[in-house]
């Protein structure tokens, strides 16, 4: 690790101004990606702005037909939240299977969405559920937020404060973990709200999380695992590595989508 300065703001406004003041500084949320990267000397921010002591950034509440989760809420708290378990069990289930217990007790939803790792789980949920990413400056629809691997709509100095998830009628997440890292090699989140079906895929594509239009169309006709028989997504821009080539990941998208639908139906 290289030397860096450390700042601990108490408010979002102070965090924003610290970020502005220190060139090449980075926000520290849960640090589950950033800290290991710094330890390997692969990142060398001049300063870390720790959001851990900013008041009001953590917490979960039900607001009308939405579940609103503070950006600094830890994965373990989402997983064990009675509110999430009752109204959005698919999200509690997803959070319960991120990384390992240490990661789940440090990592945050805001950090995960801001980083937008192509193998992260939360982006799939946010995109499939049509979440709204709320920042210190504005509200961003998930469809506009994810802009490719490690790329988001966030602007310079913009800090995620909350994420609002509309409650679906049925939803589930099915993940195929990378055998070595256990990150999602393919993760499919399926959400049905009224007649609208959204299917978001993480882990598979070089372009990061995406909506699988052919699967959505098939499930729109009938929300049933059988509807996905023979339906596939275009895998030309998929990731190919020693763990899985693009065509294998393409196969997994359909298989995991089927399993997510069965899970959403309680089967």
């Amino acid at each position: 690790m290289y030397a860096f300065a450390y700042h601990r703001p108490g408010t979002v406004r102070q965090a924003q101004s610290a970020l502005h003041k220190h060139e090449d500084s980075k926000l520290l949320a849960g640090g589950q990606t950033l800290i290991p990267t710094m330890k390997q000397r692969l990142a060398s921010p001049s300063a870390l702005i720790d959001l851990g002591h900013v008041a009001g950034l953590a917490g979960i509440e039900k607001k009308g037909r939405n579940i609103v989760i503070g950006a600094m809420t830890r994965h373990a708290d989402v997983a064990s939240s009675a509110v999430v378990q009752e109204h959005l069990p698919a999200l509690a289930d997803l959070a319960a299977h991120i990384g390992d217990p240490a990661v789940r007790h440090r990592g945050t939803i805001g950090g995960s969405l801001a980083n937008n790792d192509p193998s992260a789980d939360y982006p799939a949920a946010a995109l499939a559920l049509g979440a709204t990413i709320i920042t210190n400056k504005r509200k961003i629809a998930a469809d506009d937020y994810f802009q490719g691997m490690f790329t988001t709509a966030l602007e310079e100095g913009e800090i995620i404060t909350k994420v609002s998830f509309p409650m679906p009628s049925k939803a589930a997440y099915a993940k195929f973990p990378n055998p070595a890292s256990r990150y999602a090699m393919v993760g499919v989140f399926v959400a049905k709200k009224g007649s609208d079906v959204r299917v978001a895929v993480t882990g598979a594509s070089n372009d990061g999380v995406f909506r699988a239009a052919p699967l959505e169309a098939a499930l729109h006709t009938k929300f049933n695992a059988k509807s996905l028989e023979g339906v596939s997504v275009d895998h030309t821009s998929f990731i190919s590595d020693i763990h899985g080539s693009a065509d294998y990941r393409g196969n997994l998208v359909t298989v995991m989508a089927k399993r997510a639908v069965l899970k959403a139906q309680g089967k």
């Binding site: 690790m1 070595a180 890292s181 990150y183 763990h243 997994l252």
Partner: protein, 788 residues
């Protein structure tokens, strides 16, 4: 059986220390005035070093010294050695290229050592490493084994112009060819034994310390055999004479073979300590462990088996290319030769065997012994080809094996080994029963209903352990003798210290060795301390590897204990005023036969030290005896493992449903520890079969250089094992022990792959059988099954 004697499932004495964080590993040790070392490692697989510019690094804060291969040469520090000579078919000696601890003119793999920075802090040392500028001329690398010896391939060492270290053979070619000439059926296979990275929990570490007052060195290091390290550092590398070099291997967190070898880092630390005038500490990080610990396995093999019309094996021919990496590590040369080919007869009566092995240099990390060392590779060949032969002949794989088992002992194979004892049929019977083999087809149908493919696979393995005797290994090219030493020191109040040349790095010697003492002397294990891992305390020893500590190390202790008891009887005779012939020793008491006169062991010990009752002219005071033990043969543990698994054809995920292991380890000292060894061994073997595989890209970059890409087996990958034993005591050591440390890792890979290929309808698959690989094979096999 006493509460803490031989056969008692005693909890490990050392575990309290380990699980409460009180262990003393090398990195836990800090010496006054200590400095920190960081290595500059090659980013290229193959390059000449044109120039090294140290000026910016030298000016970096906190830097005390920067040393390179030129400094090693100036100080006449010798290179690292390979201690086992192999001769090629034509009688020529193996071609060992120079192996300097810091590169001299050329780097040969990614991670190769170029320079060391010694600084006040680790961060300062690392900062300075980044400021060293090396001008490389990058050369084309040799990565693929099948390309390495082709004409025109880049040359890694000038002494080996075609990158071939040796072209070795074993067995009778004419006899084997004769067997094939009269064969009714020939089974052929091509196999790859995948390269593995050891991944001990504790990375390697070293502290070099130099005492200028006495001109003496101390090296703290993560070693499985500190005396061998001292011998090599002293006699070959030339750091200091043996009496001026103390090597301490304190608590060591796992080795699996990778800590047998004498590496560049400890050599540099101990040498640099004198140059800097302060202790020098290096603790490897996980990336360094991936790059520069000696790797394991990495064979490409073609094998053929000749069979008669009834399915009796007539002969075996094996041709193997073994990847030895960029340099010959300490024992690398013997692993694919003498630790491999002599095991190719397996548990079978095979009249003729001929084996050819090419050792080959590539621009990859050195390859050396890793849990099982040669024997897993041999077992994979024989147990895969036997399985396929049975399938080709339409015979039940269990019964095909039984038909070909060796049944009378001793049995001389055509490839050196003389099996002393065993009962292979007994372990097969027990394993079939425990695995409920007769109902397998029922379970297979149930799985099919759920869309899953179920398979069963066998592995009937044999291994040669307790590597010894000295005369035998010497005749095969070993540069050392392979015996063990022990000293039993009885204190005046009857507590006992045992000094052993074995080294414990997870095996539980502090418990099992104490159980032997408890059993013999009739005292509790709490009254026994096992001392190991320090060349100033233990005179000499050969260390721990090859499942040798029980069979060889404990036999040395047993021999020393015999001497202690013999002398104590003499002391007791004086103390009890009886003749020595009337003294009986039982359950910790010396008594005069036919009387009620007796003394406890501790009382006799005290008599030995106060020496009031006898004249020193007749009997020396004190109670301390030593022994060196050199066995008469290898030991031959064997057993049958059965793996039953399910494959999800949609994803390729393999789930092991049942694992049955029936092993014959000879006599067992502590069944709980033996079970632990079996569990760990199976986990490692399943790791090789399903998850682990080192992968270099075409440029020689290690793709699997972290846990993000190198897949280790985890607890939730494994079922609850069904484990049992059979017993034929080993006749070649006094305790009847065969050894158990490597069995699981040897037995498991073919059991898994045989089960997968059974599930897939015989479609072959390479290790590791990752979900992707199994999915691809399942696609083919599902189409094939559908067409039938």
């Amino acid at each position: 059986m006493s509460a803490t004697g031989i056969g008692a499932p005693v909890r490990r004495k050392e575990d309290f220390r380990f699980i409460t964080g009180k262990g003393q590993y090398t990195d836990d040790i800090n010496r006054p005035g200590q400095t920190y070392a960081a290595f500059l490692r090659s980013p290229h697989a193959h390059a000449t070093i044109k120039k090294i510019d140290l000026s910016a690094a030298r000016a970096s804060e906190g830097v005390l010294a920067i040393l390179t291969g030129d400094d090693l040469a100036a100080d006449k520090v010798g290179g690292l050695i390979c201690g086992w000579m192999i001769h090629s078919k034509d009688g020529s000696p193996m071609k060992a290229g120079a192996h300097p601890a810091l590169a001299q003119g050329k780097v040969r793999y990614v991670g190769d050592h170029i320079a060391v920075v010694v600084a006040e802090t680790l961060a300062q040392a690392r900062d300075a490493v980044e400021k060293i500028h090396v001008d490389y001329e990058v050369l084309a690398p040799v990565v693929a084994l099948d390309q390495a010896t082709k004409s025109g391939a880049p040359v890694i060492h000038d002494v080996a112009p075609n990158n071939q270290v040796y072209d070795w053979h074993l067995g009778d070619k004419a006899a084997a060819d004769g067997a094939f000439a009269k064969a009714h059926h020939v089974t052929k296979i091509d196999l790859v034994n995948n390269r593995l990275i050891p991944n001990a929990m504790e990375p390697r570490a070293a502290i070099g310390d130099y005492d200028s007052g006495n001109d003496a060195f101390t090296l703290y290091t993560t070693s499985q055999n500190p005396h061998v390290a001292r011998l090599v550092l002293s006699a070959f590398i030339g750091i200091a004479p043996e009496h001026k070099l103390r090597v301490i291997a304190p608590d060591v967190g796992g080795g699996f073979g990778s800590k047998i070898f004498i590496y560049a880092e400890e050599t540099v630390c101990v040498w640099a300590a004198k140059k800097v005038g302060r202790p020098v500490k290096w603790t490897g990080d996980r990336t360094e462990a991936f790059l520069a610990d000696a790797h394991g396995r990495d064979h490409v093999t073609h094998a053929e088996m000749a069979l008669d019309e009834k399915g009796k094996i007539l002969g075996l021919r094996v041709k193997t290319k073994a990847n030895l990496g960029a340099y010959l590590s300490t024992f690398s040369s013997c692993v694919p030769t003498y630790l491999y080919a002599p095991l190719l007869s397996g548990q079978y009566n095979i009249p003729a065997i001929y084996v050819e092995v090419e050792g080959i240099y590539t621009n990859t990390a050195p390859v050396d012994a890793y849990r099982g060392a040669g024997r897993p590779e041999a077992t994979f060949v024989i147990e895969r080809i036997v399985e396929i032969a049975a399938r080709e002949l339409g015979q039940d794989p269990a019964e095909f094996r039984r038909k070909n088992f060796v049944t009378s002992f001793p049995h001389q194979t055509p490839v050196i080994m003389a099996y002393d004892t065993g009962d292979y049929g007994a372990s097969l019977d027990k394993a079939l029963e425990l695995a409920d083999y007769k109902n397998f087809q029922k379970r297979k149908k149930e799985s099919a209903k759920n869309g899953l493919l179920r398979g069963i696979g066998f592995s009937a393995y044999i291994e040669a352990c307790g590597i010894a005797p000295s005369a035998a290994v010497g005749s095969l090219g070993a540069g050392v003798g392979l015996w063990e030493s022990a000293e039993v020191r009885v204190n005046p109040v009857g507590t006992v210290e045992v000094l052993t040349g074995s080294h414990s790095h997870g095996q539980g010697h502090e418990t099992t060795f104490a159980q032997l003492v408890s059993d013999r002397l009739g005292i509790s294990i709490d009254q026994v301390a096992i001392v190991h891992g320090d060349t100033d305390k233990v005179q000499f020893g050969m260390g721990t590897y090859g499942s040798r500590s029980g069979a060889v190390g404990m036999s040395a202790i047993s021999k020393a204990l015999d001497k202690v008891v013999a002398k104590a009887k003499k002391v007791a005779a004086y103390a009890l005023e009886a003749s020595e012939g009337d003294i009986e020793f039982k359950d910790g008491r010396f008594s005069v036969a036919g009387t009620d006169k007796s003394l406890a062991f501790g009382e006799v010990a005290l008599q030995a030290y106060i020496a009031h009752k006898f004249s020193g002219q007749e009997l020396e005071p004190g109670l301390k005896e030593g022994a060196f033990y050199d066995p008469t043969n290898f030991t031959f543990p064997s057993g049958v493992h059965i793996c039953e698994l399910e494959i999800d054809p949609d994803t390729g995920v393999t789930t092991i449903e049942r694992w049955t292991a029936v092993d014959d380890f000879g006599n067992i000292i502590n069944p709980m520890i033996v079970e632990g060894q079996v569990h760990g061994g199976i986990a490692q073997g399943v790791g090789q079969a399903l998850y682990e595989g080192a992968h270099y890209d075409a440029n020689g970059q290690l793709v699997t250089a972290s846990y993000m890409d190198y897949c280790m087996p985890r607890a939730d990958d494994l079922p609850s094992f069904v484990i049992d034993t059979t017993l034929t005591p080993c006749p070649s050591n006094p305790l009847g022990i065969k050894g158990c440390g490597e069995a699981g890792a040897i037995a498991a890979p073919p059991a898994v792959i045989n089960a997968i290929t059974d599930a897939l309808g015989h479609e072959d698959i390479a290790m590791p059988a990752s979900p992707q690989a199994v999915w691809r094979a399942a696609q083919k096999s599902v189409h094939k099954l559908a067409a039938e």
